[in-house]
Amino acid sequence: MIAALKSVEVHYARGVALGPVDLTLGEGEIVALVGPSGCGKSTAMRLLAGLEPPTRGEVTRAPERGETSLVFQAPTLAPWLSARDNVALPLELTGRPRAEARREADGWLARVGLSGSEGARPAQLSGGMAMRVSLARALATGPRLLLLDEPFAALDEITRRRLADDVLALWADLGPAILFVTHNVEEAVYMADRVVVMTPGPGRIAGEVIIDAPTPRPEGFRTTAQFREAAEAVSDVLARGGAA
């Protein structure tokens, strides 16, 4: 177990935002959290990141300081820093000497396919490239828990598919536990070992679909019967949960 929510509820001033929810993330596991907009997916993610306490219930987290990384829907880069310095930032904040942090940052940028763009500012990068910088920054600290909050939502279809494959390839190398939040059923099925479906807000767990296929996904996985059936199953659970 790397992180778990146990009968967790979150209440805001405007009412109940989430729960009660039980969710456990195993070491090296990829879990997709699917649900309609406003169901509390991002709230669940912030709880797992330890950024927010629950109103009720219990959050358990194994990762120590610096072992959790987050990628948001927007690249969320510092506009005044180069791609290299953006990736080096979390390393420097945890006390790594500057030169070493920047050298490591260059290495991470190369791994996400951005060699040659080290000195570019975020404003000079395309949406897909900026997202890759964000991913490199998330991976640079060597996280045990990687939280992805609709990271491909703002990208075009071709870019998002390519990035999905790249994330899975990096996972195969590094093996962090990944929680992937999305409202896209196909994307969830493509990315995850296990798709957890949530009901409309306040979100509860509506059900769960296991995707028993090799990761990274084989060529043409999206056209297989297994992929279609899994996507149908997830859509069914979503519909029964009241999202359709």
Partner: protein, 255 residues
Amino acid sequence: MTRLIDLLTPLALVIALLAGWEIACRVLAVPVYLLPAPSAVWTSLISDWQALAAAAWTTLSMALIALAIASVGACSLALLGGLSPLIEKAIQPVAVSLQVTPVIAIAPLVMIWTGLDHPGRAIIVLATIVAFFPIYSGAATGLRAADPDLQRLFVLYGANRWQTLLRLRLPSALPALIEGHKVATSLAVIGAVVAEFVAGSGGAQGLAWRIVESANRLQTARVFAALFTLAVMAALLFKLVDILERRLLAWWRGR
């Protein structure tokens, strides 16, 4: 071509207005103490240019010193407030009351405190007060303007208060800081001129003093010459700050 027209149209209007003014003064034989013709203002400007340039420098240097003091003071206070919300809450109402009080109303007090023999000091203090608020307000707003998701990342990375301030909040504040300084630059010049009027003595011989002195002697052409100098000085300063702002913002944004 359009650039040329953009440049020429306002120039044409100015020339037309000046010509009308000149003709009206000559045809109607307006007394020179009431309204001097542009040619008379020009003559005064040429014959007096050394004194006017010295006066302009006096006003400008007082405004710039005030701006520097205000910048250091306002930025330090905003930084303190950025470190502790409690301090910020304490500063805010004081800063606002200072801002809404007309500077002329404070002038006599400042004159007494700085000593009546040192009108220059009083003018700098008053211009500082005027320039303080936009810088403080820009800095305080800017320090709160950091992207909330970036702030979450800093929490996640375990950054301490200092690191968050220096590496996230301060750089995020830059655009608002620049804007604050831009507004404060114009206000510092206005503040210095107003304060010169209030000081109303020859101790600090800036442009405003030239205007007061010449008006008292009914040397209206010299009043206009000083006004013209003041307008040109302020416009040049504004343009300079504008260019500086654009350069800095382009650097910050990365394009």
